[in-house]
Amino acid sequence: LFIDKNSRHPAQLYIQVVLNFTIYLSMLFALVLSALSLPADIRERTLHTVVTKPVRKLEIVLGRVLGFVFVGSVLLGGIGLISYGFTVRSLNHTHQLTADSLHAEPLPGNRGSILRGMTSRSHSHMHEVTIDPTGEAAVEIKQDHTHDLYVSGSGDKAVYTLGPPIGQLQARVPIYGKLYFLDETGKKKEKGINVGDEWAYRSFIKGRSAAAAVWTFDNLSEDLFPESKFPTGIPIEMTIEPYRTYKGNQEKGVAGTISLANPDFEKPVFLRNFIAKKFATDMQMIPRSFIVAGSDGKAETIDLFAKRGPDGKPLHRYLVSDKGQLRIIVQCLESSGMYFGMAQPDLYIRAADSSFAWNFFKGYLGIWLQMALVIGLGVMFSTFLSGPVALLTTLAVILAGLFSTYLVEMAGGAMVGGGSIESLERIMTQDNMISPLEPGLKTNAIKAVDQAIAVMLRYFSAVVPDMASNDYVDRVACGFDVGPDLLTRCLLCEAAYLLPVILLGYVCLKRREVAQ
């Protein structure tokens, strides 16, 4: 319905649509069920059969919450299984490749020829395939995936078979570093240059200067990256945003360089140059050991992790310090009219890959937490409000929860254009949002009322649930693992919020004269 099959990131789109649809459905279900049930039972007097038994009021409230959560869990489980199957099946595909669709291209210097051709079209795309003279095949990455190519037979009788998509559904486990900048003179700065981008998320460094972005990673050890799992080195992924102040060579991207440094030694080691891919993730490997030209012009071996001789002394210069720290330095090589933009999460070490199915489940766990929160609130409000009023009140609290960041901003007086009354005044007088209001009694009155509202909002925003904190949709859709730290934190916050809500529900129901 809403899924553009021609999208360049179909997996992201499928997962986002499926999970968001589940959120809306489960929220609606939880809202209606929790807010209307208890008032209906009280009105119909069916609750009398329960309250006349030796049952505590807390048990009634808890029973409602747990019961609804159980029903919701069953529902979510069903939807989860179906949506997982739908996502995986919808994205799964393969392509055909025949010998006719490949043509030979001679390599210079009598080095044989490579075979090049296009696969058949499937899921609105094709891949270019190249097979080098040694038989090594490369399938072009399209729509965030590639395929394995299996060849049986040779020459015209060769049969080519492509496997299922690889790399489309993933759950990367990143290790993030801390970012700081060096300005054009090499001085340490917290932020880079602002190039006038409306979204100040990324800071920029100037090309062909001492300006650099430096990430410092902590707690790295060889145990995290065993040679058996990472034989060629440790992978880093980065999204660097090039920014041009003039057109330059349009056929060539903006080049940069990656250097590595052991914080104990400071002197960085050149790793390699790269071309920045705008809005795309670029993977680079840090080899476990590599050779560079030393300051004396001789070759020098650099180890990623210290290799020590029998005397305990390092055999070569090494990059990860004894405290487990590593610096990765990125610079822009192009002329000073070119810039590189980056934010802290734009470069990370890809420590492992978790199971996508498990990550998808964790995405649903987030939805489950949101649903439980709504059920708790709905039951609590329904203990002292009539059904429709409880429903609307719960809805209002959920909406406030969804916009809690905005509420906090308003309460803190950080909004451009002032508080709500000041904004209203500006709208009515068609005034802009920046110029100060004319001093006088009216402005003083507006400011005073806004301050009073801000105080109220401050208290209100403190008790409103933060719905967005349990939303893992973007993480799952963008292929990042929902880590145990995040899950534990969310579970604790949820419990800490639900406990007083249930107790409040119990107190309200106890004070109410139901069959007493």
């Binding site: 021609n6 360049r8 291209e105 609105s124 979204w199 057109k247 056929e251 891919k277 809005f279």
Partner: protein, 622 residues
């Protein structure tokens, strides 16, 4: 039961219902039910008359026009089917929002702005798709967001492949809009504009045009998204194509200018007054876009290396299409439809009528102008005399044209010289009504009528001139003629060959080609009928680019334009456009029209001219 009725009697407030004291409660209840029933029937009948749907006719049964609302909807083209194809998904979603459509679409619009700001292009695209399903007939949203994708999102990328992908995404978005609003001319026009001007005139136009062509580039197939998009341009008789009426015959569908022209033509076909007028632009501009595409097509043919008869034919077609455009009667802001080609005829008519007026009052014009002449300054008298002389020449040619064979001899009415006060004609020329007032009473009525007609013709000619200036009418007409000449085609080819050699770094081969091309352009621009082309910024820019490359060839021999012994052949172009293009050279005294080839020969091929020689060619520039 009785107790219930009794309760009702007791609790019913006074005056709340019909007052039937004589009737029992049962009777009153029955009567109420009757009233309700009859009211319902009456309302249903009224509803039926108002909103009965129209039915389509068959061979056997005639269709019905439906109720008043259906007829009104039909008359004003407000029905869903009147606007374009119906999208079932869109209809379902609109119903599902339960009247909250405005809120939902605003929320999605705000989300789209956030996604764009955070450069989340995948979600931006998905949100736009959702948003437009709620408002499929909102023309402004289609136009704005398609433009946003093609123009704003595309430039956010660095690689031209990615940029072009988003240009095409904007076009795909607009295509959906066209399907759902297939009577709206402005959407067709926008399609034409994006395909022709965005693809053809962007900074990366060289790459975009190649990608758009759908041809293999460097041994690689065209991208999937280009192939998908191109499927919508299947030529007739494929009924699935998106352009009603199809592309004009002979269209080159691998060229963006011809495809754009096809969409502009489709936009013209969609004009259906009063419901679908030309929106948001002057009609003269709207109708000029299709023929302008043919000019750019011809221009790009030569830039891509196609010359000879094929190129000449493209320019000939452009001239024909421009002439057809000039003959079209176009609505104007003056509330008078005008033909751009009519300007000359209007001036001619006015001049001929002035002769008739002069015949009614012999000598009056001269007397009046003599009186006015006294009040002019000496500079104004010189300017006026020059103008009068040119005007007399024009009139002689006009008479000759009307008396002799009409194909030859006609020239355009001169305009007052630049630098002369605008109101000089008002102060120096004898006005028709002034002459008419001095005509003898016997002919005065006839003279007044003639004076009125002359004013009318001149005003219309003035309006036509203004409309022509909006689309650079005279320039394109002259350019099409000039480009068909052998000199011009040869000059273009020579510069193209020079560029080829230049790109390979072969300055030795490039320079003579540039010499030939520059000389050719000099001969073209020297001709009086084409001299006005020198004023055009776009042509001037192209020539300046070529001159810059030529300069680099000269630099190989330690020469530059200023150090050439003779005046540079395109010095006028440099003077006119050089500074605008970041190039400024002091004009070198020399004989006008001297060939650059000759210059090179004079300098022994090495350009060691002592007079204007500079050790560093760049040092002469400010």
């Amino acid at each position: 039961m009785s107790s219930r009725f009794g309760d009702m009697q007791e609790t019913s407030p006074a005056g709340a219902g019909p007052d039937w004291p004589s009737l029992s409660a049962r009777e009153r209840s029955r009567r109420r039910k009757w009233i309700y029933g009859v009211s319902m029937i009456v309302l249903i009948v009224v509803l039926l008359v108002l909103s009965r749907p129209a039915t389509l006719g068959t061979k056997e049964v005639q269709g019905q026009s439906g109720g008043i609302l259906a007829q009104y909807r039909d008359a004003h083209g407000l029905g869903q089917t009147e606007l374009g194809q119906i999208d079932p998904t869109s209809e379902t979603i609109r119903l599902a929002t339960l009247g909250m459509r405005g809120f939902a679409s605003t929320t999605l619009g705000l989300k789209a702005i956030q996604f764009q700001m955070k450069k989340d292009w995948t979600r931006l695209r998905a949100t736009l798709d959702q948003s437009i399903k709620l408002q499929p007939h909102s023309i402004y949203v289609w136009r704005y967001q398609a433009w946003n994708l093609s123009y704003n999102v595309s430039v956010a990328f660095d690689d031209y492949h990615d940029k072009f992908y988003w240009v095409v995404e904007g076009l795909n978005y607009m295509l959906d809009g066209v399907r759902l609003n297939d009577k709206e001319p402005r959407l067709y026009w926008d399609m034409g504009w994006f395909i022709s001007n965005k693809i053809g005139r962007d900074d990366a136009a060289k790459y975009y045009r190649l990608l758009f062509s759908g041809e293999r580039i460097k041994g690689k197939d065209a991208p999937d998204y280009v192939k998908d998009f191109r499927e919508h341009f299947a030529p007739p008789p494929d009924p699935s194509r998106d352009i009603p009426g199809g592309f004009p015959q002979g269209s080159n569908l691998s060229d963006n200018w011809h495809v754009g022209k096809g969409w502009f033509k489709a936009a013209e076909e969609r004009i259906d007054l009063p419901r679908y007028p030309v929106r948001g632009m002057a009609a003269v501009i709207f109708y000029s876009d299709a023929p302008t595409c043919q000019f750019y097509y011809a221009d790009n043919l030569e830039k891509d290396g196609t010359f000879g008869q094929f190129a000449k034919q493209a320019w000939r077609d452009a001239e024909d299409e421009w002439r057809d455009f000039g003959n079209r009667s176009i609505d104007t802001a003056y509330e008078i439809p005008l033909q751009l080609n009519g300007k000359e005829d209007l001036f001619d008519q006015a001049e001929l009528k002035k002769d008739q007026l002069d015949a009614l009052a012999p000598g009056v014009r001269d007397d009046l102008e003599k009186e006015k002449r006294v009040k002019l300054s000496s500079e104004e008298r010189v300017a006026w005399d020059k103008y009068r002389e040119a005007l007399n020449k024009y009139k002689r040619a006009l008479h000759k044209y009307h008396e002799g064979p009409k194909q030859t001899g006609k020239i355009e009415k001169p305009v007052l010289l630049a630098g002369v006060e605008k109101d000089l004609a008002d102060r120096a020329e004898a006005k028709p009504d002034e002459i008419a007032r001095r005509v003898s009473p016997v002919h005065r009525e006839q003279a007044s009528k003639l004076a009125h007609e002359i004013d009318h013709d001149e005003i219309l000619a003035l309006y036509t001139t203004r409309e022509r200036s909006k689309v650079n009418f005279d320039f394109w007409r002259t350019r099409a003629k000039a480009e068909q000449t052998d000199e011009c085609v040869r000059a273009r080819e020579a510069i193209y060959r020079g560029d080829e050699a230049y790109a390979k770094g072969d300055m030795i081969r490039a320079r003579p080609k540039y010499d030939e091309g520059i000389e050719g352009w000099h001969r073209v621009l020297e001709r009086p009928e084409f001299h006005s082309l020198i004023e055009d910024v776009s042509l001037g820019g192209d020539l300046i680019d070529a001159i810059r490359r030529y300069e680099k060839c000269l630099a190989q021999d330690d020469l530059d334009l200023a150090s050439l012994p003779k005046r540079f052949a395109l010095q006028d172009v440099v003077d006119k456009h050089g500074s605008r293009q970041g190039m400024s050279l002091p004009p070198v005294a020399g004989q006008k029209g001297q060939s650059p080839t000759a210059s090179a020969k004079d300098s022994g091929g090495k350009g060691k001219s002592s007079s204007a020689k500079s050790p560093d060619p760049k040092s002469k520039r400010p």
